[in-house]
């Protein structure tokens, strides 16, 4: 702890403190929103499965902090944290969970189908592994558009990936930029970040978040192979929380074979890290994105973390016996908020008063969002059938074109 402080003072304490504040606040917001949902769930007004990410906030916060507005994210059933960290609209999320027409998916999707195009959150879906190739495809589609026949695509697909996006990125990562990344925790021979100066202009990236269960699906491997083949700007982020529903890793993957090794098999550079340490996640993501943005191909991060609540639903379920109370307590002690909170208080990044103020702000924001959700109307029965098909030449595709 002493060392950290000293180091930080040497390396631009302000920047580091800004980063710490931002990461902490993002995590606090996710935590309080998730806890708020858990508390309200018994009201039975959020009538859809919910997969809370309490305990796993550092991954969403750390990775998304390094993303710019132009970068895109896709996720899974456990998407609340990613959605919020990427800037997804809280009111629309809660309205969605309440099944309202003001929801981010107009009430058609529920908690497992979040989307906020304006924030670059392109969608989440609960079929394990399936959004991974879709994320790769988004990166591929962008690449095709960028390079497809010169001018013609320009008007239609507006953005020339490059300067603008890059600035965006630099802006949002200003804090991080000045911080020397923490040393990689696992040195892997022959599998090094290639962060030589990029040849092409910096690329926008697509991030695919998924659990370690998804790495058992063929779709994951097919996606990795293609991303590596085409050297696509994709960051694969695996949140390894040790369980798939009630199933521990031991019954699903060979003992002693770490998840990130799968990526290496595909020739995709990968790292493993502490998913409960927001600064460590940030640092790994920062390095990985340098590599990816430089056009040097995809990268994968395996971040070890732990889900606190039941797989699906608002409660704790250690009583079921699929995992031990000790294990849970061990991880609980590694709470990403407590850890970063201690550090931040310690190094003066923030004060307890500030934390309290943030909490109040977030609680108020949450309460307002819940009120919005509750007061919103349900979708009309008449809306059920006509929206199955996109009308040709509808406005819908302009999003894609502008993306």
């Amino acid at each position: 702890m002493q060392n950290v402080k000293v180091k930080m003072q040497n390396e631009g304490g302000n920047v580091r403190r800004d980063l710490t504040r931002q990461l902490y606040r993002t995590m606090l917001r996710i935590r309080l929103v998730e806890e708020g949902i858990a508390a309200l769930y018994a009201e039975q007004q959020m009538r859809c499965p919910v997969h809370l990410c309490i305990g796993q906030e550092a991954v969403a916060a750390g990775v998304c902090h390094v993303l710019g507005h132009e970068d895109l994210v896709l996720s899974t059933h456990r998407a609340h944290g990613h959605y919020l960290a990427k800037g997804g609209d809280l009111r629309a999320m809660l309205a969605e969970m309440h099944g309202k027409s003001t929801g981010c998916a107009s009430g058609m999707g529920g908690s497992m189908h979040l989307i906020d195009l304006s924030a670059g959150f392109l969608g989440s879906a609960p079929i394990v592994g399936s959004t991974i190739p879709i994320a790769v495809g988004v990166a591929f589609g962008r690449a095709l558009r960028t390079f497809a026949g010169r001018e013609v695509l320009e008007p239609r697909h507006g953005v020339r990936h490059g300067e603008k996006a890059d600035l965006q990125y630099n802006a949002s990562c200003a804090a991080a930029d000045a911080v020397a990344p923490a040393p990689c925790q696992i040195p892997l021979a022959g599998n090094k970040w290639n962060d030589a100066p990029p040849a092409s202009i910096g690329e926008c990236v697509v991030v695919a978040f998924f659990g370690e269960g998804a790495t058992e699906e063929g779709a994951f491997h097919e996606a990795l192979n293609f991303a590596a083949l085409k050297q696509l700007p994709v960051l694969f982020v695996c949140e390894n929380n040790l369980y798939s529903v009630y199933s521990p890793l031991a019954v699903r993957q060979p003992a002693g074979r770490e998840v990130y090794r799968l990526a290496e098999g595909h020739g995709v550079i990968s790292r493993q890290g502490d998913g409960n340490d927001a600064l460590a996640v940030h640092s790994l993501a920062y390095d990985a994105l340098r590599h990816v943005r430089a056009g040097r191909g995809p990268a994968l991060l395996e971040l070890k973390t732990y889900r606190w609540r039941e797989h699906c639903g608002p409660n704790y379920d250690n009583n079921l016996g699929y995992r031990t109370e000790e294990e849970f307590q061990r991880w609980r002690a590694l709470c990403p908020l407590i850890r970063l909170g201690r550090r931040g208080l310690d190094d003066g990044s923030f004060t307890q008063t500030e934390i309290d103020a943030w909490s109040d702000e977030i609680r108020a924001e949450f309460a307002a969002a819940v009120q919005f959700a509750k007061q919103s109307p349900f979708p009309q029965p008449e809306s059920m059938l006509p929206s199955v098909y996109a009308e040709n030449d509808s406005e819908v595709l302009s999003h894609a074109r502008a993306a």
């Binding site: 798939s244 699929y322 029965p381």
Partner: protein, 349 residues
Amino acid sequence: MRELKYYQAIHEATDLCMARDESVYIIGLGATDPKGVFGTTAGLDRKYGSRRVMDMPCAENGMTGVVLGSALAGMRPIMVHQRIDFALLAMEQIVNQAAKWHYMFGGRTAAPLVIRLLVGRGWGQGPQHSQSLHSWFAHIPGLKVVVPSTPQDAKGLLISAIEDDNPVIFIEHRWLHNISGPVPEGMYRVPLGQARVLRPGSDVTIVAISHMALEAHRAAETLAAEGIEAEVIDPRTLRPFDEETIIDSVRRTGRLIVADTSWRHAGFAAEVVARVAEEVGGSLKCPPRRIALPECPTPTSPALAAHFYPTAADIVAAACQMVQGRTWRPAVAASSFCDVPDASFTGPF
């Protein structure tokens, strides 16, 4: 006779078969979990050990291949998926391989395996967790497809399925798991390929699949009060398919309603209507009717559930129209959300 819940009937059938035949084993995501696949496998892992009841990696296609291979090596696997939607990943192994393995090698090997697929419904299961895909499986020669609607049939059909030397798709609707009914003790078999008349009647034949059999039964009670005697038939297996029982009934009633849990267009209800049209179309007193899902994915909002899922009321209305030529209106409007089967069902699954 003692009563069991549907999920208990499935449990008992599995238990009996496992006790009798050591080659029977269960595999599936969560097969050993504390909730035991909604109770259907609960405790079997402790009873039979980890080599006969086991969890698996999240890899539906590959694991179906594994299960098929194990059957070729003499085992009798029961694979279970908590949602039929996940089995979409495994269609290649199910349809190209398992369904055809016996045939394409000239009958030299067989693939005795059961794949249990659960159909979700309610509490915002939404577009990817509540599809009813039995019509797909029913289309494939080489598969047998079972869709029991009562605890008694669930047990007898599952035993037949496990003992069958072919791949059997066994479909369980989540809203059936908690219904109760009389279930005989011990081993008994309900043969694959025999429909069951759930209720005799002379005015209209209602063929109802899976959970719709429950709705049809409710509808028949209401209809009786309206002076209409409905004959309710549960086909029980969709391949092989017992056409005779249905044709016989329609011959008597002259009217046909088919109620299905899946989409109408190109769904199984069409097959039932087509068979009847081919065999006794000329003697129908009025055109047949299908009651099925509207042509959209499952919307998640609870407010839309009532508009998405047809119920007993729709059946009653159709029957009144067909038999008495009049419009029927339910006494009381449907209350609140129709996204739970009963009050005990409070999510999150």
